[in-house]
Symmetry: D2
Subunit: 351 residues, 4 copies
């Protein structure tokens, strides 16, 4: 299958461009009789909307999800669910120069090389706007996971070099950066303002926790649960790295430190991050993803045009300063899609 479909049984296909008529997703394989309405989707989409922090774009998209098919009298019917989100605040004029000028850090150059044609308006298909479709689909997956009390939470672990030093779950909702450390959140705000003033942008780290997952999910040997989670998260545009459990710190550990001993009451630790041999253990699953700084910056950069001539560029469109925290709910959505898919796959073979 071409590249716009994710999942083997809980299967989503996103479509649409940043400045076209709209974007959306088809979900095929969602089990029937699951209560779904637009408010469930909207609630998750609203968490992705820009404009609630100083790090976010001023583009004002209502991002209103419309269910077009697959739901009857408030429930899934087992047939494809089409969700549609109109583009309403697209201003393509600002992007006209990028029709022939390659923005560093963006897909302009590579789309041209791959396809020989490119919808340059707002980044076209390569725009982060595409992730709204993922969030809409993720909301349906989340509703499915809710039935089994599986909970997925993404939060900001670091932003612009400022790392959280404490973990207070309640704090996440109380600061605009979704950081579990109020002190760190304040420092993030100062950092964001300074960088914004300089016309620059920031990266960071998102952490994701999955609770309530049953043991037994994941398909050896290639479709390991961690492998599919890694793919799902790495497929989000800005992500440059994914860790599970101990992650890169495992490299420096000895087996006697890294192994999670097993006690009658459960595992003694969780360096595995809740996955052994690609299959969930039943423990919490822990993931961390590295997010690169937003490539659209006002600071002057070297580039070339489509003919290869040297040019300079200052990207002044309406952009976030950091993909964080808007990317957090996108990470949650991708994780929900992976889990819903693996839940269905396990149901198929379960005794």
């Amino acid at each position: 299958m071409p590249g716009n479909t994710f999942g083997k049984l809980f299967c989503v296909t996103t479509w649409g461009e940043s400045h076209g008529q709209g974007i959306g997703v088809v979900i095929d394989g969602c089990p029937p009789c699951l209560p779904i309405d637009e408010s469930i989707i909207q609630k998750m989409l609203d968490r992705r909307r820009p404009g609630n922090t100083k790090s976010s774009t001023p583009r004002k998209e209502p991002d209103q999800a419309e269910i077009v098919s697959g739901i009857f009298e408030g429930k899934t019917t087992g047939t494809p669910i089409l969700i549609r989100i109109e583009n309403r605040d697209a201003r393509s004029d600002a992007y006209q120069p990028y029709a022939t000028l390659y923005r560093p850090g963006h897909g302009d150059f590579t789309y041209d090389k791959k396809y020989g044609i490119r919808d340059w308006r707002g980044g076209g298909r390569a725009s982060a706007r595409e992730t709204a479709s993922r969030v809409a689909a993720g909301a349906v997956a989340k509703a499915f996971l809710d039935r089994d009390n599986i909970r997925v939470t993404a939060y900001t672990e670091a932003l612009g070099g400022i790392a959280c030093e404490t973990f207070d779950a309640d704090a996440i909702a109380r600061n605009p950066f979704q950081a579990p450390d109020m002190t760190a959140a304040e420092r993030m705000e100062t950092r964001v303002e300074a960088v914004k003033a300089a016309g620059d942008s920031l990266g960071g780290i998102v952490a994701i926790r999955i609770e309530g997952i049953p043991p037994g999910l994941g398909e050896p040997v290639f479709d390991k649960l961690d492998a599919d989670l890694a793919k799902g998260l790495m497929s989000i545009g800005a992500v440059k790295g994914v860790e599970i459990g101990s992650g890169f710190s495992a490299a420096d550990m000895k087996g006697s430190e890294h192994n999670d001993g097993i006690l009658p009451g459960g595992f003694a630790s969780n360096n595995a991050g809740g996955i052994l041999a690609g299959i969930s253990t039943g423990q919490e699953i822990l993931l961390r993803v590295a997010v690169k700084p937003i490539p659209s910056i006002a600071i002057l950069q070297n580039t070339v045009d489509a003919d290869g001539n040297p040019q300079t560029i200052s990207v002044k469109g309406r952009h976030d300063i950091s993909a964080i925290p808007r990317i957090n709910v996108v990470c949650e959505a991708m994780v929900c899609l992976v889990l819903a898919d693996h839940l269905l796959r396990q149901r198929a073979i379960a005794l």
Copy 2:
């Protein structure tokens, strides 16, 4: 599709258990008329064989690849290529206790939870021995990539906390740890001996470089080249993290630092790691993977048996001290499989 198949056009399915009759792979989708013989496969398999470093298992498997189908008069015919590797030095008796005792850090517990049955001999399907099948398939993929002068090289960046500080490409083949730094390699040897004596094990970091890749490979939005590479690498048992280009260090960078400016002669830097918006730029692709310590250690650990009773365990089979360096060629193989698949996918839509 179930979980033992990888790739959409260059498609491999591995089969077999550590102590069964043998293991192997079916490759379907390899283009016809590609010269392939067993020596090509054997050469790559030999790089995975244990016994050439002090960190490796004493199990002596010849790992002899036999081509059973798909090759006629030395060339691929376009039909499925079956490669078979017999198990010859399996000693299952040593594993009898693990029929009912869960080895920490292994898939014993999770396989039982998932399937309700488990081939406990040598770890069964969850054994790292399965990766020999991937290497055999990777050798065929590598032969296909060779035609386009695409080269993949994996080497050891760190082992047991000892990181390489210099990069000397020639050094890689001159020390048993495949480290590009001879001084580091010596320190690794000392480290490995000490840990081995203590009955413990080590993790490390593998780096992978892809050279000669054309621009345009990778399928937005989910089958991005980096997403598929991350999945392929994370599907290798011991891997706990994957980075592309700047990786986790991107989190601390500003956009003005991270963006790779474009000059008429090419990109000014390569924080992207050779992939933008999921599509190859034509630059070198850089990947790093975190490898956890081998979970089989002689040091006594807490565990439970299948009935949940507390037990202690000391795993004394024939094991590596570290998955490094044997895992390096497995990483290469997985990368070759991803690239061969994306090359074919691009050929299908290319103008």
Copy 3:
């Protein structure tokens, strides 16, 4: 993948219900830079529209195709193409009784058994209206095939027991039944009127010819070109049988009669129907499909309600008397989808 997706490289997913907001299709994998506009799609959709023969439903759907994504400045971009067709003339009230009453010959009973829920309005997802989405996708596939001068033509070979006895290609467009025999077409008209008056319905046979196909398409051993054509055609609701080349008459032939001898100028005959060992020979491909009578009839039938109680039913909605000739273009569309997919698959492995 769930069941609403067809094709491996030229990949279409249809969505929508008969009386919901609308129906449509996502096409993923269409090569870039192909000129496509709504008129191409509309032209093919118009051939499926009811109302131009006495055998068709009085439901007046404009079936206006709207391209929502994937086309930029009149050309495909290589990204997903969403095509949307609104439902405008749905009158669900007439279907209210079928919420609990199973219409014989329809999917009401089986959808309830499978999903435990069913959108009964106009047959919901099981409505033949879904085939408009296939036709829209088929129009894009046809545009792709046009570049290689591959032509697909479906016509009526028999309707209501009246078979064409001559083949006049020009006649097809000159009678409302798309029959290549004007005399037969006249008899069909009489037959349709009589059956319509009796509140009954008719079946028939559609023939499909594919010209200009290159040799080499089709993937042994399961994805043979004939196997994929059979699946595509059999997936159209009313189809009960598919033949290729000699079809069922092959059963009575001897090898010496059936084999198509090969001469320097080409094959001496075409009992194979243009496909040998699942791969196209380069000859014309010939297919025939059996179409069952429309199950919605006014004549009283026995049925049960959802509680299993005996009931009688007379289906009086707005229905065709026969799926023919509207189904003809649906057959063409499905064939185009299969061919486009196999063309891309062959490009991937071609030398």
Copy 4:
């Protein structure tokens, strides 16, 4: 996925050539804990073996199935099952002329056109010998279906123009042609002898009955149960047509004749053939397939060599006179594979 894989959850990949080292299949996705041993597979394979009728080839292959992986202590483990069948009686010399001479009715010409290379020994990959792999896989699927009391029976409905006129289930096992009519079977024998003496070959019709199928199997809209059955059956080399239920006779029926009325005790008839809207009704499923005559005949035919020069050919290898009755168990196997796959798919979404 390339063309040698069938099924989405119960997924089989066949490999091997007629005169290579052997043939076989990997089954991935078979649920764990299913009792399987080689005798189950052998029993089904033995039904496909030649030599028990005068219509069959004198090639004496023991067709001994060897389970290489995926079974532990007599049960499936949920991991890939490799089954291997060695080639032991291959005599390739007889095929040497066909290295450059195209046998009419065979894939020699099309394989050359597609791949530019061809293993001409015994027909290579295109040999009907490949179907032994399908039968081996089908035996495992059949064991899975047995748990739900689903039974699949294929029998000969016609051979060489001689159709069965009565149906006596017990007769099927009592004559070498697997015909349910002993009188017809005798006439078939006479017919076969005469045609064999003339150096010619015969086609026929196979009927398949599926009993015990639960309602609810089949995935609208493309992966309808009938569509997948049609594909599976049409992918068998000699098959030229597939009918379900009323099949081609539906074309001449009126809706009032074709519709199966529903009574409190069940359906009043079964023109649907047990499938409505692509989903099983719970009734018996009825299929018929047209089988072309074996193309290998001694009678002189016109052909060309690989350079296009006119030649004549008389194919004198060891061949069946008719694919019937050996193809019958192949049809059963393909049907079992389709049903096992759809059973798993339904389990994944069932409430």
